[in-house]
């Protein structure tokens, strides 16, 4: 019998942020996003309980393999595709917290097809927990090394026309009234990995207006392999390179979703998103924005930007008064 109980898999619909310990940060956040009525591609998490069973046995336990295979089969059945491509992504318990982003340090396998490949990717994710870069990052932030655990997200792949990331406040100025979107053709991995200069959009949350848009020359894109598992890089067709990878209506919709997610969590978010060929927007991941939130907390500890005065017009005195430079 197992010392630790708990199911091997948990479906997104059944989990929320409180399940961080059993499904990891990413998995918990995806469950929570569905609560915020955001379109998240369907999927499940292979739990930390399954990971511990794996770690104890040193090999993939049959019961875990069976549960994961059943979960994958259900995703295939729902989608009507026997070899449904899925994303297999690590979801460590220390990851995606409000204080540290851990972004990109754990493994992600895109467009994985077939039960055997899914189980293989799962084990690679588990192995990545001990990767050097991840260990170094954790120790710098004083995340305790003992008992690291990991969930693994298995989720239907969106075949995106365009994808990217968005911040629900300006990463440059910290302005909380704008959403900043980076977008390029194909999978978001080209944007996250910095392999393409994406289109950049700044959208005002209050007025819904696109405040700035910078359309870049997007040389390449990442696309899923037509057959088998994995992705490849290819040049964008010339007519797409300098065309905006998002429509204004899509930007507005993204902004609305970003604002909703931010309100749901009560803090600024760093969101990965994708738009499929039919223009449906999916959210692939959301985690708290860390840089400006930390600065805000520091600033708030000192004093507010402005405090109320005995008489409202006294604000005008400081405006006309001597200027501190």
């Amino acid at each position: 019998m197992e010392e630790t109980g708990g199911a091997n898999v948990a479906w997104f619909d059944d989990i929320d942020l409180d399940d961080r310990a059993s499904v990891g940060g990413k998995g918990a956040s995806l469950g929570e996003l569905r609560r915020a009525r955001v379109d998240v591609p369907p999927g499940f998490v292979v739990t930390t309980a399954a990971f511990r069973r794996f770690a104890r046995e040193g090999a993939l336990p049959r019961a875990v393999a069976n549960d994961v295979a059943r979960g994958y089969a259900r995703l295939c059945a729902e989608a009507g595709d026997d070899a449904l491509p899925v994303a297999v992504r690590s979801s460590a318990t220390a990851e995606d917290g409000a204080a540290a982003s851990f972004a990109g340090l754990q493994d992600t396998y895109l467009s994985v097809r077939g039960e055997a490949n899914v189980l293989d990717a799962l084990q690679r994710c588990w192995a990545s927990l001990h990767g050097e870069a991840a260990v170094a990052y954790r120790s710098r932030l004083e995340v305790r090394e003992e008992e690291p655990a990991m969930g693994v997200v298995i989720q239907r792949m969106v075949e995106p026309r365009s994808a990217g990331v968005m911040f629900t406040r300006s990463p440059l100025s910290g302005d909380p009234s704008v959403v900043c979107v980076s977008s390029s053709w194909g999978l978001g991995s080209s944007v996250v990995g910095g392999e393409v200069t994406p289109d950049e959009f700044v959208v005002n949350k209050v007025t819904g207006l696109v405040v700035r848009s910078t359309i870049s020359d997007k040389e390449i894109r990442h696309v899923p392999l037509e057959a088998g598992s994995g992705t490849r890089e290819e040049p964008n067709p010339p007519e797409l390179r300098t065309r905006a990878s998002l429509e204004t209506s899509e930007l507005r919709a993204l902004t609305e979703i970003g604002t909703r997610v931010e309100r749901h969590y009560g803090c600024a978010q760093d969101i990965e998103w994708a738009v499929d060929g039919r223009g449906t927007i999916f959210i692939l991941q959301s985690r708290p924005e860390t840089v400006w939130s930390a600065r805000d907390r520091e600033a708030a500890a000192q004093r507010a930007l402005e405090t109320p005065k005995a008489k409202p017009f006294e604000h005008v005195f400081s405006f006309f008064g001597p200027r501190k430079t």
């Binding site: 300006s170 100025s173 700035r212 507010a304 409202p312 006309f320």
Partner: protein
């Protein structure tokens, strides 16, 4: 030190337009002085988009006399005194006088806090008083009775033992007239700097909290929806609806003059008289709006020149017949304003910040009625009434042969008109012919020639060394002058196909440009064109119903035109510096009112 790449000509380097050398059209104190080369000047094209006739120099003298007095002497604004002006080739250049000594700033701050605090604390009472003073001033101007200088003075001079003959009143009433204009401008600035101070304080806070916020968004939070300046246009819309209601819409035919339409209506039976009565009622006071912005004598009001309101009426009547609703969606605009404010408020980081935001925005709403409504009384009603009164004196001088036409009076400085009237008063007294008919006609002709030559001159947007940063908040607020703006202006005109200005009203459209240099040309604008102009005046509002977008050389995001453009949902870019020089009528343009970029597509 940053490398100074921005350069404008020095004031002393600006040559007189050929053929105008040595012109004495403007007073000596408006000429370039030694030391001016060390100061930064910019062309006040917002208020003076055309060369100014000598008489109209009063609309530079009077406001700077008053603005400076309030800043420097009355409220003691700590960091800035008044504004100096120079008239160069007929254009008004201005330069603010900053206070830089920290000890002096502190000393002024103490006085400022006491005096400005008093005005803010008693705002409503003092503003009610202001409205009474303005009503009195309007009555005083209307009561100025220009003497006719008959052969024998009135009998009452004898029977009442007045002891004063009519030639005295000729001079006294002209002085009263000039004083009324000076007084109007005094009242104009009584609250204005404090009002703008409230705006700027709020704007500065918003920019700190929301670094990417646009001025237009902040402006939307403070802007009022029901202001007097909107009323004249609203009255036209009501009259258009009434025309259809009364069944007289067939009188409003495109191409007909106001006189033809009114003639047609007065010859009709039925309910035409209902419309005519409503029309007469709307004229006072709402047709006392200037077709310009009150800075030039030829900016007549709608009552003087019915062509603008009637051309708009014809369009509005067509809209009503087509079933279009003309009413401004005031409730929706108010709701939108509340929504934007409350959403920004919610994005603030703390309750303290929200409380400060509420105080600052509340202060803006306190001052807004004055900031918006004073324009109707001052620049529109009183300014046009003043110029009309001057016309009466001009008519008297023309009748006595001083010059050929009543309007010629405006080629003379008001001090020169005073001299001409003194001449006339002496001549009436002595019984000898006045000397003026031999003196003034040559001067009038020369002034007209010089003014026409000035009109061909392209004034540089600024003169002298550019300061490191524009520290004066008033320049930013009133004229939209920023360091970035200056850098953009310094770029040689004619290169590239882009112009940058302030995005004053969001949206992107493409269309055909129609360049309009003065108010007399605005009736030529056709449906769906993009208006390109030196500056848009408030009373141009009816034209906004026709155009697709607006582009101006000068102006800030709080200008009335920007507010109107936002209400009409038209993209507008203001303060481009060169638009009327770079763009020609008929070119295709893309106007991006969000980013403030105008692209010439041809």
């Amino acid at each position: 030190m940053a490398t100074q790449t921005t350069t404008f000509p020095l004031p002393s380097e600006v040559a007189a337009v050929p053929g105008t050398e040595g012109s004495d059209m403007y007073p000596y104190f408006t000429r370039v002085a030694p030391g001016d080369d060390e100061r930064f000047w910019f062309y006040n094209g917002m208020h003076f988009p055309e060369p100014i006739p000598a008489f109209d120099a009063i609309t530079a003298e009077a406001p700077y006399m008053s603005l400076g007095a309030y800043n420097t002497r009355v409220f003691a604004i700590p960091t800035v005194l008044g504004i100096d002006h120079r008239i160069i080739n007929g254009r008004v250049y201005i330069s603010a006088v900053p206070v830089t000594d920290p000890a002096e700033i502190e000393r002024r701050l103490a006085v400022f806090q006491e005096r400005a605090g008093y005005y803010f604390s008693n705002w409503d009472r003092l503003y009610a008083q202001w409205n009474q003073k303005i009503a009195q001033l309007l009555a005083d101007i209307a009561a100025i009775d220009v003497p006719t200088l008959p052969e024998f003075d009135e009998a009452a001079v004898v029977t009442e033992g007045r002891g004063i003959a009519q030639n005295f009143y000729l001079l006294e009433r002209f002085h009263t007239c000039i004083e009324a204009m000076l007084k109007m401008w005094q009242y104009h600035f009584e609250f204005l700097v404090l009002g703008y101070g409230a705006y700027l304080t709020f704007f500065e806070f918003c920019k700190k909290a929301f670094p990417e916020i646009s001025v237009q968004t902040m402006a939307r939070m403070v802007a009022g929806v029901d202001t007097l300046m909107m009323r004249p246009d609203d009255e036209l819309k009501k009259l258009a609806a009434l025309a259809v209601e009364c069944g007289v819409e067939s009188a409003f035919v495109t191409g007909r003059s106001a006189q033809e339409i009114l003639g047609d209506l007065s010859g009709r039976n039925g309910r035409a008289h209902v419309w005519l009565e409503a029309f007469e009622k709307a004229r006072e006071p709402w047709f006392n709006i200037s077709t310009g912005d009150g800075f030039y004598h030829h900016h007549r009001n709608w009552n003087d020149d019915l062509s603008l309101p009637f051309s708009a009426l014809v369009d509005y009547v067509a809209d009503v017949r087509a079933g279009k609703s003309l009413a401004r969606p005031t409730e929706r605009l108010k709701e939108e304003r509340e929504r934007i404010s409350s959403e920004y408020r919610a994005l603030l980081a703390s309750d303290d910040e929200r409380a400060a935001f509420d105080q600052m925005l509340g202060l803006c709403h306190l001052v807004f009625p004055y900031v918006e409504d004073h324009k109707f009384y001052c620049e529109n009603w009183i300014a046009t009434a003043f110029f009309n009164k001057v016309r009466e004196f001009g008519g008297l001088l023309a009748r006595h042969g001083f010059f050929a036409d009543t309007e010629d009076v405006f080629t003379l400085h008001h001090s020169e008109v005073g001299l001409a009237l003194t001449d006339l008063a002496l001549s009436w007294a002595s019984g000898s012919p006045p000397r003026g008919p031999d003196h003034w006609p040559a001067i009038v002709a020369e002034r007209k020639r010089v003014l026409a030559a000035y009109a061909e001159w392209a004034p540089p947007p600024a003169l002298g060394p550019v300061p490191e940063g524009i520290a004066d908040p008033l320049l930013l607020m009133l004229w939209g002058i920023t360091s970035d703006q200056l850098r953009a202006w310094a770029e040689p005109a004619g290169e590239g196909n882009e112009l940058r200005g302030f995005g004053a009203s969001p949206g992107i459209v493409e269309g055909i440009a129609h360049v309009v240099r003065g108010v007399d040309e605005i009736s030529s604008i056709r449906e769906g064109e993009i208006l390109v102009c030196p500056v848009t005046a408030p009373s141009w509002a009816p034209v906004f119903g026709k155009i697709k977008a607006a582009v101006s050389d000068i102006g800030g995001a709080m200008s009335h035109a920007a507010i109107v453009a936002r209400e009409y949902g038209l993209p507008a870019v203001v303060g481009t510096g060169h638009a009327t020089k770079r763009i020609v009528t008929g070119q295709r343009l893309r106007v991006d009112g969000t980013s403030g970029i105008v692209t010439i597509l041809d």
